[in-house]
């Protein structure tokens, strides 16, 4: 089922939930809504589900405008963050509930519930109640209940945020796998960018009720269209620095106080066209500690992450986060030289926060 959202706005009184959202989702696509909490992801999802009435805009499932279609007639399945399992019903009754409401014959209900339960690996649990299950099992039941009515669209609202890290990893794989097998158009809301990056075909990044970018994960990472997207996607987050870009003997130079970084022609031209300072962004993995280099700084903090150390280097008033091999055994207070891989640097307009490189 193809989903087309045009100029969708949802306000609660004066509070803006989501504003002027336009998004076209292909049939069978897995789309993630990514953004910090309170940015309007859930609002958008619930508006799609028919729980909220859009203040403005159009929602189409296929060719059908569904703005005024009741939730039950939209044929969607939804998995909630809290799972929303009915505590007084057994697992069987929970999963069978949508079928019961459709007045499916008893034997059909039976068969379908068992089938879904087996797919989800909860065939043994059908007689229990939700309170007697672990978080992971409840999660599967919620998914089973969403799937049993063979929905055209699957909506997930932060389904994994209540699970522990290990379980989250397995469920991530399973959901992705299931979705690809069934080919159901899916929207997956999350504030965890790793989840979005690994699972989604395309990611809609939202902030403050506005769509920031809608692209494939690689695109978002390599060619972020706004400063917000650049900062939000990637972990640890991108370093930002106000620089002045000026031409210098055939090349370009990005300057901030004592820091001078040579810049390739392509990026240099795009950013030098802008008067005054621009915002330069560079990811931690594009900065290396080297034995000999032009830019020197002092290590302020070392945070061991296991395989790598997260290092905060101060150069004058500026601070850079970067990653280094644990074996190098860097210590706070150490003086080091840095090498910036400027072919990966991003540049943004400080006012509009749009990318100077990738914005048309």
């Amino acid at each position: 089922m193809e989903i087309r959202i045009d100029n969708l706005t949802k306000k609660f009184g004066d509070v803006v939930g989501v504003e002027d959202l336009t998004l076209h989702i292909e049939d069978g696509e897995f789309v993630a809504f990514l953004g910090p909490s309170g940015c309007g992801k859930t609002t958008t999802l619930l508006t799609l589900a028919g729980i909220y009435k859009p203040t403005d805009g159009l929602i189409r499932f296929g060719d059908r405008v569904v703005n005024t279609v009741q939730p039950k007639d939209r044929n969607i399945g939804m998995v909630f963050q809290s799972y929303a399992l009915y505590p007084h019903m057994t697992i069987f009754q929970n999963i069978a509930y949508p079928l019961k409401l459709k007045k499916a014959p008893k034997n059909v209900q039976n068969e379908q519930v068992r089938q879904v339960a087996n797919v989800m690996g909860i065939g043994e649990l059908l007689d229990r109640r939700p309170g007697q299950l672990s978080g992971g099992q409840q999660q599967r039941v919620a998914l089973g209940r969403a799937l049993v009515k063979e929905p055209d669209v699957l909506l997930f609202d932060e389904p994994l945020s209540n699970l522990d890290a290990r379980l989250r990893l397995t469920m991530r794989g399973e959901i992705k796998h299931l979705q690809k097998n069934l080919g159901i158009t899916s929207i997956y809301v999350t504030h965890d960018q790793v989840e979005a990056m690994t699972m989604a075909d395309r990611i809609a990044v939202m902030n403050g009720g506005h769509l920031q970018a809608f692209d494939a994960p690689d695109e978002l990472y390599d060619r972020p269209k706004t400063r917000f997207v650049a900062g939000f996607v990637g972990n640890p987050p991108m370093n930002f620095l106000d620089v002045e870009v000026s031409p210098a003997n055939g090349q370009f130079l990005a300057q901030a106080d004592s820091i001078e970084l040579p810049l390739g022609v392509e990026r240099g031209e795009a950013s030098a066209g802008h008067r005054g300072t621009v915002v330069m962004g560079i990811r931690p993995e594009d900065i290396q500690i080297v034995d000999e280099g032009d830019v020197r700084g002092e290590i302020f903090v070392v945070e061991p992450l296991g395989r790598e150390d997260l290092i905060d280097v101060r150069i004058g008033p500026h601070s850079f986060i970067l990653l280094a091999d644990t074996e190098k055994q860097h210590r706070a207070g150490e003086l080091v030289s840095l090498n910036f891989d400027m072919t990966q640097a991003q540049f943004f307009d400080p006012q509009t926060e749009r990318s100077l490189l990738w914005h048309q």
Binding site: T42, L46, A49, G50, I51, P71, K72, R74, I76, G77, M78, F80, Q81, S82, A84, Y86, P87, H88, Y97, P98, L101, K102, R145, K149
Partner: protein, 525 residues
């Protein structure tokens, strides 16, 4: 909540530090003691000096503030002892002699201060007492006057040493009775004494005087009592405090209900003591209980079982209707959008301010009209259980609607949304998904409603006059109205009979009552 731990914790982790000096602790104890004295005095002044005059302006003749003031003053020394002993209690576990020394020293100083205050203000043991200003002794002939204070009340009335008092007015007195009469007399009240002087019978009217003799030896028992009290406080295990407080607060009820139980098993009682026909202890009987089942009390014939069934029918019917109606309204108010929602919610609360009593007559008119309607009239009209139950349901609605709304508010919105997406209608969502989840709330409201229905008197009494429909409370009142003289012990037995089922019901259901504010898994957006 863990039980056991003391309610009155002493300050934390004092044990690790070097203990403060004895003097420092003493000063802290005294400081707490005097602060609580000031608080008690302030409270006493608030009641007698502010609240009482204010209401007196509105010509309310009350003595409540008086009693409260006296309670404050009575409690004042004890509060002071407890406050200062709280410092000493820090050492009860580690250093008993220090704890006791500290507390008792504080107590002595506080006692001295309070007594000095009493002395200065002529209060407490120094308060002026009614007196005739003569000393008396009991002799065989009567109460003999031993000494007479010169210029005192007795002297003015020209009483003489050696007079033997036999009666006040026409009541013969011995010394004990004489002193009792005197202690109840007000200043200036005339007491007409009959006495014999030599062989002569005489009468003289003596006016009662108020005398404060300020005898310091009266202080000693007070001091001893204070010291014992303080010592008990020092050793009292902290977790006993709430029990003692609870039993203390409950004591009037404990005594009262003890009496009513005794009374139902006896012919008559004086105070708490059951008596037989010769005014001796005894006179136990089962007749009060037997006659309930025998169906005859002082000539009033009845059959208790149909009355019981009517009570039950009203209560059960009412409970079900209250639950259904309130939960439906509560659901809509909590979960749905509609014009008038806010209005209805505040309006239902205001409805509670409409006294049932003032609406009795108009409702009587309404029921009369309802009774004229076909079909419905037979179910809910005048003189029907349905009609009575519905009226009482209406009066339970304010509480019911508010309680139910609160319970529905506690259920996460995702439940509702999930059900709607699964394809349920609003009614099925309410009936199949939400209602089962507020079972504790339904039980709580059910208990309130059942109690209300079971004990309902005014409404059944008003709307079933002469129809032969009567429930237990109506029957109880009939018993009082139609038997003369009323056998109150019999009435008490019927009252207890009515109380027992609902008390048992409450004991078993209490767990659910306490869930009024529980419920709901976790919040949702």
């Amino acid at each position: 909540m863990t039980a056991r731990e003391p309610l009155f914790d002493s300050a934390k982790s004092k044990a690790d530090e070097t203990p403060p000096s004895f003097q420092a602790d003493l000063i802290e104890g005294l400081r707490l003691g005097f602060i609580s004295i000031l608080i008690a005095l302030a409270a006493a002044f608030f009641f007698s000096g502010i609240v009482h005059p204010l209401f007196a302006l509105g010509s309310v003749e009350e003595t409540v503030m008086d009693v409260l003031t006296r309670l404050c003053l009575l409690a004042l020394p004890f509060i002071a002892y407890i406050a200062s002993a709280s410092v000493a209690r820090r050492y009860t576990a580690t250093n008993i002699s220090r704890a006791l020394g500290l507390a008792l020293t504080c107590a002595v100083i506080l006692f001295a201060a309070i007594s000095a205050g009493h002395y200065a203000l002529n209060y407490g043991v120094f308060a002026p007492r009614p007196s005739l200003q003569m000393t008396l002794s009991q002799t065989e002939a009567g109460v003999r006057v031993e000494t007479i204070a010169a210029g005192g009340a007795a002297d003015k009335a020209e009483m003489q040493v050696g007079d033997v008092i036999t009666a006040i007015r026409r009541d013969a007195v011995d010394l004990e009775a004489f002193n009792k009469r005197l202690s109840q007399a007000e200043a200036g009240a005339p007491l007409r004494l009959r006495f014999t002087r030599g062989a002569e019978e005489m009468q003289e009217t003596v006016r009662v005087a108020l005398v404060s003799d300020k005898q310091l030896n009266l202080l000693l028992p007070g001091l001893l009592f204070g010291l014992v009290f303080t010592a008990i406080i020092v050793f009292l295990p902290g977790h006993w405090a709430p029990y003692i407080a609870l039993v203390g607060l409950l004591s009037p009820l404990i005594v009262g209900y003890f009496w009513v139980i005794v009374a139902t098993f006896s012919y008559r009682t004086e105070g708490l003591v059951p008596l037989d026909s010769n005014d001796n202890f005894g006179g136990f009987t089962l007749k009060n209980w037997e006659s309930i089942f025998a169906g005859n009390i002082a000539g009033l014939e009845f059959n208790i079982w149909p009355i019981l069934m009517t009570s039950l029918a009203i209560a059960v019917l009412m409970t079900f209707v209250v639950l259904l109606v309130s939960s439906m309204a509560g659901y809509a108010l909590s979960r749905m959008h509609f014009p008038g929602r806010r209005f209805f919610l505040s309006f239902t609360l205001i409805l509670h301010g409409f006294p049932a009593i003032t609406l009795l007559i108009p409702i009587f008119f309404v029921l009369l009209r309802l009774g004229d309607l076909p079909v419905i009239g037979d179910m809910v009209g005048f003189n029907t259980i349905g009609g009575i139950a519905l009226v009482m349901v209406a009066f339970q609605l304010p509480l019911g609607v508010w309680l139910m709304k609160g319970f529905f508010d506690n259920i996460p919105w995702d439940m509702e949304r999930s059900a709607l997406i699964d394809g349920a209608s609003r009614f099925r969502t309410y009936w199949e998904i939400l209602l089962p989840q507020i079972r504790p709330g339904l039980l709580a409201l059910g208990i309130f409603a059942f109690i209300g229905g079971w004990n309902a008197y005014i409404i059944p009494a008003t709307y079933s006059i002469g129809s032969g429909l009567s429930n237990l409370p109506v029957f109880l009142n009939e018993l009082i109205d139609e038997t003369a003289p009323v056998d109150w012990n019999q009435v008490a037995a019927v009252g207890l009979f009515q109380l027992i089922p609902i008390f048992i019901f409450f004991i078993f259901a209490q767990e659910y009552l306490l869930n009024i504010y529980a419920g709901g898994t976790k919040g949702s957006s």
